[in-house]
Amino acid sequence: MDILTQLVINGIIAGAIYTLIALGFNLIYGATKFFNIAHGVFAAIGGYTVFFFFKLSGAALVPSILAGVLLAGIAGMLSDKLVFLPLRRKRGSSVIMLVASLGLFTALQAVIAIMFSNRFQTLTDIFNIQKTYQIFSGVITRIHIVIIITVVSLTIGLFLMLNRTKFGKAVKAISDDDEVARIIGIDTDRVIGYVFFIGSAIAGLGGILIGFDTGIMPTMGMGLLLKGVIASIVGGVGNIYGSVCGGLLLGFVENFGVWKISGEWKDAIAFGLLIIFLLFRPQGVLGK
């Protein structure tokens, strides 16, 4: 293994994982203009749904994954309907929305812990050492290839949705000007509900794939969310393509950073990158 090649591969893998979380986060932020902290727990909901159906109940893999994605999406949609929409109607500020999302995150995380305990769990009976493939002089595992393909597919899918469908253009219109979108006849509450479904389902899928790689815990959401938020801000918050850009940049900076510095500095490197962007290019690499 050539270390440089492996670091590039590792950067892409890490970047793909962060992008998975950032995609849904940015989609929701674009439409609602607030940082939805609860986004992290939807990743955990996806992972635990698969754990329940596939590992505990013995259901087949694909239906379990579909159930995980669906449940995460529904949870997200319900969170909008029951919590965020009423606050939007009362013209709640972004701060109030953020606090509400933090409360929701904490509550749902606690529910998961009560149902499944705080223990680390794997999604398969044995903690599968993945089949690996050689790429140039580096190695990559099967699950990572799946993650990368998923991210590419989701990005293309979101691009097509936002630019080629009426729904997608409505999302872009709401993102630009929610009030005018309503004036021209778009039921923005309904559209935002669907956005929450899609964004949270993507988070759920992320939680499932990451769960197959490194296992699940009720607290997995916050760590993933923080990296997803950094990727979003670095790439351009509210910009779907910014998710990819920011995710990859973060993945590379972290992995190349720990090449030269100790692994304990990983979080410091990530947040250092965030601060640099906030100070010097707050709109991110690609802007809004």
Binding site: M1, I3, Q6, L7, N10, I13, A14, I17, S117, N118, R119, F120, T122, I126, F127, I129, Q130, T132, V139, T141, I210, T214, G215, M217, G223, E254, N255, F256, V258, W259, S262, G263, E264, K266, D267
Partner: protein, 367 residues
């Protein structure tokens, strides 16, 4: 004269009656035993609840077996759920409200209780590995000492001809830092060297770049100093990087839920509790004794032994200083964790052993 004599006789008779009554009452009064209060701070609920419950059960069983001693022994159990904030409030309650004479701790509570024990001049027994906790004055520890664990680890490495060690360790937990520092001290005068030292914070999930850094150093063995789940994730990712080098650790393989990752690998851990203790615990509570319970059992027996030896009157328990003096005289004590010795600096030295994961289960090896 007659009158005076009558008065004198009457007074003498009264005094004699009163004296007789007093002597009679004194001879019938039972001896009042003083009570030695022992507090415990451990997780009794939550995921780590099994540890605290095990300790509690072991203390109760030890007291039952102790039977009727010179003093009464009372317990006060506090649940800290492994939360340092709760540990602190529990310690304050035990000291200021319950006025305990000794405290047994585990988890975060030892670090919090150390200065309080000194301040209140009580005895504190921590089930902990950190070398700076015991002072031999108020604070004691009962866990297989890091020096002993590492000693056996290094010996085994030398026996197997291991010279290059690759280390993956967390710096987030004191115990692992203590283990590593003692490992480094231990290899100073050997030909074993650390060829790569990869550190990370607890909670890390992606070790791939650290592994890429470590791989070119080509160690003979990887020493992994972290517990679940990072232990399993590191091992898995090392294998996925195409590295087949064996792993070892202190204790960690003992409680892994993915033993297949460590099949065939040796490691060092504290000795198993004695069969006698395990059988008695199982008969009493219906399950095998969990980790820390034999330590708690031994702690009660050491304390009670020292208290009984130090005290001169059942109605007045001995002072802390006297108890500590007796504790430190104990150089051979049959405990649940083998033959125990209390060192002058407050460490209870118990045994360590070599183990291996065989067919998914830890088994003892001959060293």
């Amino acid at each position: 004269m007659k009158k005076t004599a009558k008065i004198i006789i009457g007074v003498v008779a009264a005094v004699m009656v009163v004296s007789a009554a007093y002597v009679h009452s004194m001879s019938k009064k039972p001896v009042v035993k003083d009570t030695f209060k022992i507090g415990m701070i451990a997780p009794l609920t939550g995921d780590a609840g099994f540890v605290g419950v095990g300790m509690k059960n072991a203390l109760l069983m030890a007291r039952e077996q102790w039977g009727d001693g010179r003093y009464n022994y009372e317990f006060v159990f506090e649940d800290d759920q492994l939360d340092p904030k709760l540990s602190a409030s529990a310690a304050q309650k035990l000291l200021n409200v319950d006025k305990v004479d000794a405290i047994v701790t585990v988890g975060h509570a030892p670090r919090i209780t150390v200065p309080l024990a000194r301040q209140h001049d009580i005895i504190h027994f921590a089930i902990a590995v950190q070398k700076d906790i015991p002072d031999g004055v108020n604070n004691f520890t009962h866990w297989a000492p890091s020096v002993k664990l590492n000693g056996l680890l290094i010996k085994e490495m030398q026996k197997r001809g291991i010279k290059k060690v690759g280390v993956f360790r967390t710096t987030s937990l004191e115990a692992w830092v203590a283990y590593y520092n003692d490992f480094l001290d231990g290899i100073k005068n050997t030909d074993i060297r650390v060829v790569t030292d990869q550190t990370f914070k607890k909670g890390e999930k992606d070790f791939r770049s650290l592994i890429a850094r470590a791989k070119p150093t080509n160690p003979d063995i990887y020493l992994i100093f972290v517990e679940t789940p990072e232990l399993e994730i590191v091992a898995k990712q090392i294998r996925e990087a195409g590295i087949n080098t064996p792993f070892t650790t202190l204790e960690g393989f003992e409680v892994t839920e993915q033993p297949e990752l460590f099949e065939g690998y040796w490691y060092v851990s504290p000795v198993e509790p004695s069969e006698e203790f395990s059988k008695a615990y199982e008969a009493r509570f219906g399950k095998r004794p969990p980790v820390c319970s034999p330590n708690a059992y031994d702690i009660f027996n050491l304390l009670a032994t020292a208290v009984e030896r130090a005290g001169s009157s059942p109605s007045k328990k001995p002072a802390t200083e006297q108890i500590v003096r007796e504790l430190k005289k104990i150089k051979s004590f049959p405990g649940a964790l083998g033959d125990l010795l209390v060192s002058d600096n407050g460490m209870v030295m118990s045994g360590v052993q070599l183990k291996m994961i065989k067919n998914g289960k830890p088994v003892a090896l001959e060293h």
